[in-house]
Every structure is written in C-alpha cells, then in structure tokens.
Symmetry: C2
C-alpha cells in the first residue's frame, strides 16, 4: 500500500480533485484526445493550471489518476453462493468493461503512467475484492481455497494481459478455464479443453 | 497479426522512422519527460513536425512505438538443454529488464498507447519466442509440452502483471513456481510453496 493518502473528503484538496476529474471527463470524449491540454482542463475546472501541474505533474499522470478512479469497482460484489461463480461474475464484468472502448482507454491511461500509484491502487482493490470472495467462501464452508496471490496470477493476470495485448483471444470458455485452474479443478493445459 | 507492415528496410519510410526513433532516444533521458515535444524531436531528426504527426498522430503514440522497438528481443534465445531452464532464463531476463527504470518507462509507454499496434507486436514476439523454445524441446524429445497459450497465460501474464502493478512482489522463487505450474509439475497453489 505505497500510494499517497486520499485527500480528506469534503476538504479543499478533495474539491479540487473532484472538479479536475469532472473537467477531464467532460472534455475527454476519446476523440479529440490529442487536443486536450492542462490549461483547457484548468479553465473548465475553475482552477489555475499551476494547481494541476503542482498536484499531478503532467497531463499523462492526471489522465492515469482519472482512469484509476474509473477502474475502481463500484457495484457491490455479487454473492452467487459459490466461489467459482463469484469469480466468473467478477472476472466476466471486468472483461466486458475493459474490452469496451472507454475501458480500453482507461486501461491504457492507468498502465501508461510513469508513477506506480494508479496501478498500485488497482492492485489493492483487486486484492481486496478477492479477499472478500474468499472470506465469503470460507463462511460458506468451502474448503481447499486458493490464496489471493494465486487468484491474481491465474485469473486476473492473464485476463489483463489478453485485454491489453490480444482482446480478440478472450472468451467465456477461456475465463472458465482460468477460474477452474485457479480452484485446482483443471490443472491440465488450456489446449486440452479447446483443441 | 493485425499490425501495420514494417517499412521496407533502407527505404525512405524506414530512414524517417530510424531518425525519429534515434531523436527520441537521444532527447528522452527519462528526466525531462514532460518537456519533450514533437517539434523538438522533429528538429533533432531533421524532419518536419507534420511528418511525425502524419505518421504517429501524437507524442504518446510515437513514444509507444519507440518503446515497443526497445522491447523487441535482441539476443538469440538461450538453449540450456531443457524447456524448464530455457523458460527460466527467458522470463528471468524479461523480469530483470522490466524492473529497471528504463524498462519500467518502456513498458508504461507501450502499455499506454491508444493503438493496439505496439502491444500486438510485443505479443507476436513473445509467441514466436515461446514457439521456438517449444520446437527445440520437441526436437530434444521432451514430451507433454504445454501450448503457447498456456505459457503466455501461466508465465508471461503474471510476470507482466506484477512487473506493472507490484514489482516488489517478484522473485526468482515465484518465477520458478510459474514455470513449473506451466509445465504441469506444480498444480498446487503458490501458497503451498511459500507459506
């Protein structure tokens, strides 16, 4: 958890962040991306450009910060009654969102920052969500549960790799394979299931 | 293989690309990143800014293109006599390079582009390298070989995820675990090996 503390809600710093994030969302329609400038965002947000430079350093870091907030999970996690289905719903929603055009843009912004902070936040959220699913599974009496690390490595990592490098290779079958592999019920290679 | 064909070597287009890439490398010391502009790069490369805008569209896409070229494997793949060790050397070199400061910057640039092209090239190279290692293993008579897909998902994907999101969690032990899991000799969870 190496990221900077979030600004106090309602404080001046939080209000500036909210206004600047809202300005980016309003001005960034995904089309005129290369036209977006810090002075333009500052004017829309009602702050000075130097406020933005001081806080974010560059447009790229500001866009990464806004993207990370977009990647923050909103809806409460589904409780389907089994860890396998909870993981399928969770990973399936991520896959759907991240293969959309705004999702692809948010992902590129978050992955493209020089600062680790936006990615550290995404990692922390993903670990928290997995920990919640595992704790529910434990409460239901499910046994032989994998670790948070295993679920990150075996499900989230290949999902993110393929969303970013080869989105056309994604499918629900592949996702199911990863989930089962993570749960220890499918140690064989993916090939075995699909060829 | 959805990326644009590479320019004909020695042709005008290839010479422009080479000059512009060299200018970026010369001007981008990783420090004054936010000062880097297309007119500055154009002047250093001896081309007009509009040549760069026409070809790459934006600074961000140009930086991603340069980064992808930096990520292109250079050294011939080690042939250690076993697939497990070949994979360890290959993934170990990637880990070492990508956790360095220039590696982290190249990775962020390649992952941060709106265009898929730089990432598709990286994916193609990774698949080609894996296919070569598998073909050598087949020639040596190694059996029960995993697919290229499995090696991407079980080794390269978590490696890239952790390089990008949580580099401090990487270790050679973890890498060995992924390689063994991919080769089918370690279906148990990572936890089992480390806790």
């Amino acid at each position: 958890m190496s990221h900077k503390p979030l600004p106090r809600p309602g404080g001046r710093s939080a209000r500036v962040q909210q206004a600047v994030h809202a300005a980016v969302s309003a001005l960034d329609d995904g089309e005129g991306r290369t036209q977006l400038t810090i002075p333009m965002i500052a004017e829309h947000a009602g702050v000075t450009p130097s406020t933005i430079y001081r806080r974010w350093g560059s447009l790229r870091e500001l866009l990464a910060d806004v993207a990370a907030e977009r990647l923050r999970p909103e809806a409460p996690l589904s409780d389907t009654g089994s860890l396998e289905e909870d993981l399928m719903v969770w990973a399936g929603e991520f896959m759907e969102e991240m293969t959309s055009r705004p999702g692809q843009q948010a992902l590129a912004d978050a992955l493209g920052s020089a600062s680790h902070d936006p990615r550290t936040r995404c990692y922390d959220w993903q670990c928290e969500q997995i920990a919640l699913m595992l704790s529910r599974a434990r409460d239901r009496g499910e046994s032989s549960l994998p670790s948070v690390d295993t679920l990150i490595d075996v499900i989230m990592a290949p999902l993110l790799y393929r969303v970013s490098h080869a989105p056309e290779s994604l499918s629900e079958t592949r996702l199911r394979h990863w989930v089962r592999r993570a749960l220890g019920s499918a140690c064989e290679n993916f090939r075995a299931n699909t060829e």
